[in-house]
């Protein structure tokens, strides 16, 4: 299982437009993570707080995803299974539609 999660994170590691990629369990535990640089820690901490708020809604009320758009960056929160969320921080050079497609393909039952 952990290997599978690391494989998912690995996909984003070599993408320069991805600021961070983290898999959380429904209770907010970090299961696997990648962060591009220390300057994105505060953004990731902010995203973690949002995960606490939206996790249950996303996983139990069947919300497809949650997106936060800032002036330059964006954060996408998406369930990848019944009990796990993938949180991806993207820079302004990322194509959001591509991240939406790839994260949808990462979902598994």
């Amino acid at each position: 299982m952990r290997e599978k999660l690391l494989e998912i994170i690995e996909i984003f590691k070599t993408d320069e437009s991805i600021l961070f990629a983290v898999i959380f369990s429904i209770d907010g535990t970090v299961l696997a993570s990648h962060i591009k640089g220390r300057e994105w820690i505060s953004a990731l901490e902010w995203a973690e707080k949002q995960v606490e708020v939206v996790a249950r809604q996303v996983l139990e009320e069947n919300l497809n995803s949650v997106e936060f758009r800032f002036e330059r960056e964006g954060i996408l929160i998406k369930p990848i299974s019944r009990s796990m969320l993938l949180v991806v921080g993207i820079s302004d050079v990322a194509s959001l539609y591509k991240v939406r497609i790839d994260t949808e393909s990462l979902r598994y039952d």
């Binding site: 996909i11 070599t14 993408d15 320069e16 539609y97 591509k98 497609i101 790839d102 994260t103």
Partner: protein, 410 residues
């Protein structure tokens, strides 16, 4: 024999190492690899080179069983009887070479639909376009950049040989793009023709109803399918549109408050050119009563370029907004019928439906690519709207080609 391997890595060396390592597990010795590279890998295409013919094609995404990806690469390994030729030159020169080429039972063409090598090489053409008042001159200048989709398939149609064209028009066009590589060398403006002696079952769809028996009927069908705005009179030449209802394309679009683009040359130079638009001109074929769409952008051009040879179309068309009615359901119902094989899927559909597309493919167990509106030549049993010349199926939106691969190991 055909097998696939893919990598989701965005680093070229790591991606190539991964697919090369997977090639070690093949149950046959391949003699041809076609590698479909997504955006992040395209600038390093020369890394992807096996010790047999390796063709690298830039794509917007690719499809694996139940999944759709916009990162990484998909490699198709083949052990197959084929010949591969690279053709270069003007439109007429390349078409003549294609006419003289040996054609197999199935043929694949890969070429850049619109290509300018560099800013330096384009400045002369751009100035000539700005200075000329003659539409024929403009058409000739565009002929130095465009290989028109319908023209390229005529040699195959005329010999009743089946062909699929990957007429590459990336969403992010730029100088020197698209980057098609063969054996580590950049193709530039040219055409790769792969001729297979084996026949593959191929089919085409544009998700539209059949065309009418006459142009009036076709127009009514189109008005029901797209967001109809108005019929327009065209002043055109082979590869250039001069006027829509007496106005340049830009002035016509600005009448409808379309203001999304500015300077074409600057956009291409900065890599800001986005090769998709929701505003389309539906052209009407006088040969078949079919129709193909040409995307319209409000760049400041006296003469607007066409991706088709316009001589087969009427001097009137329909200005519309692009919308596919009951869109995703139509796509799902076509995909449902697919056997495991290979699909060449239009990139505009990816832009329309984004992640919903992944759900449409969740029962599909084959492979495919997301690319610029593939074209097809062959004999099909349906009166497809996009059949704009007899047995030539081409459009700049929606077109999708399926190829059955019976030799693919499941």
């Amino acid at each position: 024999m055909i097998e696939f391997a893919y990598s989701l890595k965005s680093d070229a060396k790591k991606a190539f190492d991964e697919i090369r390592s997977k090639s070690g597990n093949l149950y046959f010795k391949p003699n041809l690899a076609v590698v479909y590279l997504t955006e992040n890998l395209q600038k390093d295409a020369k890394v992807f080179k096996f010790d047999f013919n390796t063709l690298c094609i830039p794509v917007e995404g690719f499809i694996t069983p139940q999944r759709v990806w916009t990162r990484g690469c998909l490699c198709m390994f083949m052990d197959i009887d084929y010949s591969l030729n690279v053709l270069k030159g003007s439109i007429n020169e390349v078409v003549e070479q294609l006419r003289n080429a040996e054609k197999g039972e199935f043929n694949l063409l890969v070429y850049p639909l619109f290509y300018v090598e560099s800013y330096r090489s384009s400045i002369g053409k751009y100035l000539k376009l700005k200075l000329t008042s003659d539409i024929e001159t403009a058409s000739q200048i565009y002929g130095e950049m465009i290989y028109p989709m319908n023209t390229m398939l005529r040699p195959f149609r005329d010999e009743s040989k089946e062909a699929v064209s990957l007429n590459i028009f990336p969403l992010k066009l730029g100088f020197g793009k698209p980057q098609i590589f063969l054996n580590g060398e950049k193709l530039g403006r040219g055409v790769v023709h792969i001729s297979f002696s084996k026949r593959f079952d191929a089919s085409f769809t544009d998700y539209l109803p059949e065309r009418g028996r006459d142009l009036e009927e076709t127009k009514e069908i189109l008005k029901g399918e797209f967001h109809f705005v108005e019929e327009v009179e065209l002043k055109k030449s082979s590869l250039a549109i001069g006027e829509l209802n007496g106005q340049t394309v830009r002035d016509y679009l600005r009448k409808y408050r379309v203001k999304t683009r500015d300077n074409l040359e600057k956009d291409i130079e900065r890599g800001d050119f986005f090769g998709a638009t929701p505003y389309i001109l539906l052209l009407l074929s006088r040969e078949t009563c079919g129709s193909a769409a040409l995307g319209l952008m409000d760049y400041n051009l006296k003469f607007y370029p066409s991706l088709f040879d316009l001589n087969v179309f009427e001097d009137r068309g329909i200005f519309s907004g692009e919308i596919l009615k009951s869109g995703l359901e139509r796509i799902k119902s076509e995909i449902k019928n697919l056997k495991s094989g290979f699909v060449f899927f239009d990139q505009n559909l990816m832009l329309m439906f984004e992640e919903k597309l992944v759900r449409a493919f969740k029962d599909y167990s084959g492979y495919g690519i997301i690319t610029s509106f593939p074209s097809f030549s062959g004999s099909l049993n349906k009166r497809f709207m996009s059949e704009i010349e007899p047995n030539i199926f081409t459009n700049s939106t929606l077109s999708t080609v399926f190829v059955d691969l019976p030799d693919q190991r499941k």
